[in-house]
Symmetry: C3
Subunit: 475 residues, 3 copies
């Protein structure tokens, strides 16, 4: 492949039909420069705690931390070690960042037609000014260019926060986290709005590796000795209050399934005691997680934190990979998920209460039109999160709009989440959402489904206003 | 939002590509004014029994009886009481119809991009001549206009039946119904063709609230004392004969799953006796429903009534809502459905017999290409119903055509069902189907898949002829 | 319907948008005349063993052996006997091929919008030069034309092999097959490249009718007395070595589910002994199949044969049909399939080993984006087969590209399989794939997702190179 001038059309992701494209372009103009709200993601708050923090080398920025990228290289037989991924046993891995970048350039054709491919093209162009297409032939020159830019103050995280036009950025933090970096950001007097999110999975899921240790930490940080279910609940309430005081607007909960079921106090305490003694079974853990989702909904009714639920991923599917490199290595695989029956206990108890705001995400698209849109189109407490993870893509978004809106209305959805740990990819991800959203609205308009006034309102709603409202940033 | 002149383009729902649109428009012209056949729906026959019956106030016509509408308002936190929905406990609800209509106008933006939104726009324009868009600002003026029109003879149900160009309208009636209103229509000498449909769910599903009482009614209306399974079967056969004499062409069956399985006589009778004594279990009910689907197929083989099966909805998902307001309150939620194994006993026994015509509907679109199209593309007795309920929409229809036709052929589908209780929405629903169908056919033509002669035949088939044939209106 | 001149546009299956169509046409030009690689199918090798073999009469060529065709005629109530399908009991069936063809012509409208319809139109035009549309009115004239052509040397299989521009054609053969016809082809010195594929289902699935007899045949052909699990494994290894010597590049495995699980030796042997004594249970068979998939993966690691897995079809769903006419009668129905958990044991043991190449096919499209793309986008050993059977169609392919590529990349897919027993349909099937593929790529390009250089590479990859690489024809 020739190292052609990079091709990134201004009207990308829009349908080719000229009438639809004209409307899409007009709508896009009205939303393209709106501030970005990032209500859920995994950016490290440390990046903002120190005004001199940097993003590291190109390889450290783009490849080593990004399982979207290295999983595809691995799928084609490239060893993880060659990509600089650390081994749990401390075995040797490549530290030659230029060579790793070369491998990436040699195989960048693998990303043709993938979200990662278009995000990266956008980042290189819009943020770094790289106008050459990444290939094996251009890899080293691009590395030079990136390395030079990353060393300048303009590419420090705080500078980029402003340049990205971020209005607020929420991180994801363990229930036991002392939020030291968030405190440091506050103390620094910097104007950026970085907020924590309360994620208690590690103490709620009794089978999480290190659970017992996390409970001890929970005792420490909360000042409540967690020796019973009652104290466990008290400690969680204490942590939620602390997170809220530190600016949190939401909680977040992962689970293999969205199963919810309330336990009586003695049942819950008995399971908790077994867990404290290292005797909890898989069934104990399953029931306890189901119960704690109910408890979290109750606490959200009381403290107003928005409750996010991310179910359906089987984590660390590849045992060898997990053992050798740890978690988040690109081997999390979705499974079929059932919502209609699983969420019923929670929705029956709290779903009619507008103090609860429950945002449900999905990895099983078959549930969108079948279960989730009908549920969100009825229960006042429920909203649908945007396409997540594998579905955070042009086609994933198109399918989401096609399958969800007719039953749930866009007003039971919540705009966009970038859900990323790759800080530099945030503008590209939001821009892709905005483009796909306005293109979909334009398609509705040229088919006579919505008039132009409505189309304009919908564009503002999907690009900005729904997120702000859903996560209660207006309150 | 401004109260702009209402925007309802002539070529709505067609793809924007000029070549495809040209063909779609031509095909639409050939079917737009064909008579409407409504083989399955829930319109109240009482509307036609008295020539002076009226449709009530705008709020009584459009909002209070239509769970498509109030469920979405409820999902955004508007109390059911504020919308005039009666409470089972007789608690106070709004009876200020103008105020309810105002709430509707204020929130009509919620319906952007929904089928309800486009049906209502079409109804207001085409039936009522309202040329202003419904918003908070225009709500009262539109109410005035509607109220005035509804008071005129032109807006009585019988007049609208003619204006709608209905050829036949089938209602849905309990097995125990004496069909008094149908008899009154016949006695009146009116030319309209209103036919009943036999729906025995309330006596077949042993766990239906009030089942025991329904059995007593069945004894009364059939003149057969239903004290055994044998007499139950006889009574059902008697009722089917009565319905057929009253013009019925079809039966209809709802079930949580399409599970079918034949019981021996003594098994069936033992379950029936337990039910009579209030001792039937959930498993009894499950097996009995599965068995009765087999029996209904047998009776259809014998009497020629078309058998409709509507599986997969979990009724009254929201316990509080059901308790407070009753059933059909917008809280029925679909679940994943399995057809390949569940229908096998029925299809193995009766599926090769062309005297049976089994029309299967689905709420789980994942089964369309996977299970239903292959089944309908093989068994002579089976046909596929059109997209149902949440999927009776532009996207639902498009997905149906995309997933079903390649394997099953349009000739194993049955045209359109409006399946509505909202009489005034019937023309809008059929028109939407016809538009989406011809647009899909036009898409096939401009892609060189079918020639123009075939496209023209397919348009007539999908818009009119398939329904007439499938429900045996030609016999 | 009039017997119009047949309409088969040059730019068929491309989107109507002029910009997209222009790119699609350019890409199509670059791949339309590339050789065909047919790595998996069911053509009878006998057709090539004798240089004078013929394809028979039009009815014997197009209707009697093709369950895609007669299942749809049967679904509309046409008896199998009238279509010339032999009965197992030797009962009378039509042998009047002209009359059968007439029935086909009379009902060819059923195939509007189906893959069979467009394949057949293409075959009649491109291979047989028939320029008239098949209808009841034209059926006899077309029969004459076809009959005359089929009698000429140009329409013998070997001549067509060259005319079709086939580079290689793989058949599917039982593990116990002596590959006599393959040997005859080799002995004949003919230049065509016909290769066997190792399919051991009949000896691996303990409940296959005639299993015990197949084991005896396995003993005979392998020279190893299969009286234990150990000898069974040895015999299979012997057969694989023989197939490989005869040119095989791959194995093929069907299973109701993709369940995999390793048994200990004594477990496996105990089940095998029960099977030898006619005492294997359904659970035995299920576990044994799961175990043998693991064993087949192990052998593929060792001998390099590509492993193909075709799960999810319930064979012979219609008991009457199976009893009366045998298997492969158009009554195989897919079921929901689970891959994430079922494949985990196999992928955990062998999925990180690039010596294994596991190609997974699917009939449950809901798994494409949810399970299969994430799995193939991670495990180095795994690739995704193209849309199979009911999904080998314009829409099936479009859905496949839409759902799979963003997560798995086209580089974890394997190009096209025609998977057909209808030799004459091979060019039409590959042409349809190439057209749909380039149209999809053109759609990516006009949406600014891939530049033109990438689009050109992707076209060559999907049309030819990926298949060659995936099946190791380059080795």
């Amino acid at each position: 492949m020739a190292s052609a001038e990079w091709y990134l059309p201004q009207d990308r992701y829009f349908d080719p039909d000229p009438a639809q494209r004209r409307v899409a372009v007009e709508l896009y103009e009205s939303v393209a420069r709106l501030p970005l709200i990032s209500p859920h993601g995994h950016v490290d708050p440390r990046l903002f705690a120190d005004e001199n923090a940097t993003l590291g080398s190109p390889t450290e920025l783009f490849i080593i931390p990004d399982h979207y990228i290295f999983r595809l290289l691995y799928s084609q037989g490239i060893p993880m070690e060659d990509l600089g991924i650390s081994r749990a046993d401390g075995g040797p891995v490549s530290t030659d960042y230029r060579k790793i970048w070369q491998i990436f350039g040699d195989h960048f054709y693998l990303f043709r037609g993938t979200p990662t491919g278009v995000w990266l093209a956008d980042e290189l162009d819009a943020i770094f000014g790289v106008k050459t297409k990444l290939t094996g032939a251009t890899a080293q020159a691009i590395y030079d260019e990136l390395e030079a830019k990353l060393a300048t103050p303009e590419f420090r995280p705080r500078a980029l926060y402003d340049r990205f036009n971020l209005e607020v950025l929420c991180t994801t933090d363990a229930a036991t986290d002392r939020l030291t970096y968030h405190q440091a950001i506050r103390d620094s007097g910097w104007h950026g709005d970085i907020r924590p999110t309360f994620r208690p999975d590690a103490v709620v899921n009794l089978l999480t590796p290190g659970w017992r240790k996390s409970i001890d930490t929970l005792s420490e940080v909360s000042g409540i000795t967690v020796d019973s279910y009652a104290h466990f609940i008290q400690a969680l309430e204490q942590r939620r209050a602390f997170f809220k005081m530190m600016g949190a607007k939401a909680t977040d909960h992962a689970a293999e399934t969205p199963y919810t079921q309330e336990l009586g106090y003695s049942d819950a305490d008995a399971i908790f005691q077994r867990a404290l003694h290292g005797q909890a079974t898989a069934e104990d853990a399953r029931r306890f997680t189901a119960h704690m989702l109910m408890e979290m909904a109750r606490m959200s009714v009381e403290d107003g934190l928005v409750m996010q639920l991310h179910p359906g991923s089987i984590r660390d599917h590849n045992a060898m990979l997990f053992q050798r490199y740890g978690k988040d290595m690109g081997a999390d695989i979705p499974q079929a998920t059932e919502f209609t029956h699983n969420l019923r206990p929670l929705l029956n108890k709290y779903g009619n209460d507008t103090r609860l705001r429950l945002i449900v995400f999905m990895l099983d698209e078959a549930t969108q039109a079948r279960e989730l849109a009908p549920l969100a189109g009825h229960y006042p407490a429920m909203r649908l999160g945007p396409p997540w993870w594998f579905h955070d893509s042009i086609n994933g978004m198109r399918r989401f709009f096609d399958r969800v809106v007719e039953t749930a209305s866009i007003y039971n959805t919540v705009g966009f989440n970038d859900d990323t740990r790759a800080f530099a990819s945030i503008p590209a991800r939001h821009d892709l959402w905005r483009r796909v959203a306005v293109n979909w609205i334009a398609g509705q308009h040229v088919r006579g489904i919505v008039d132009l006034d409505d189309a304009r309102e919908m564009a503002l709603d999907l690009a900005y206003r729904l997120t702000k409202r859903a996560y209660r940033f207006e309150d």
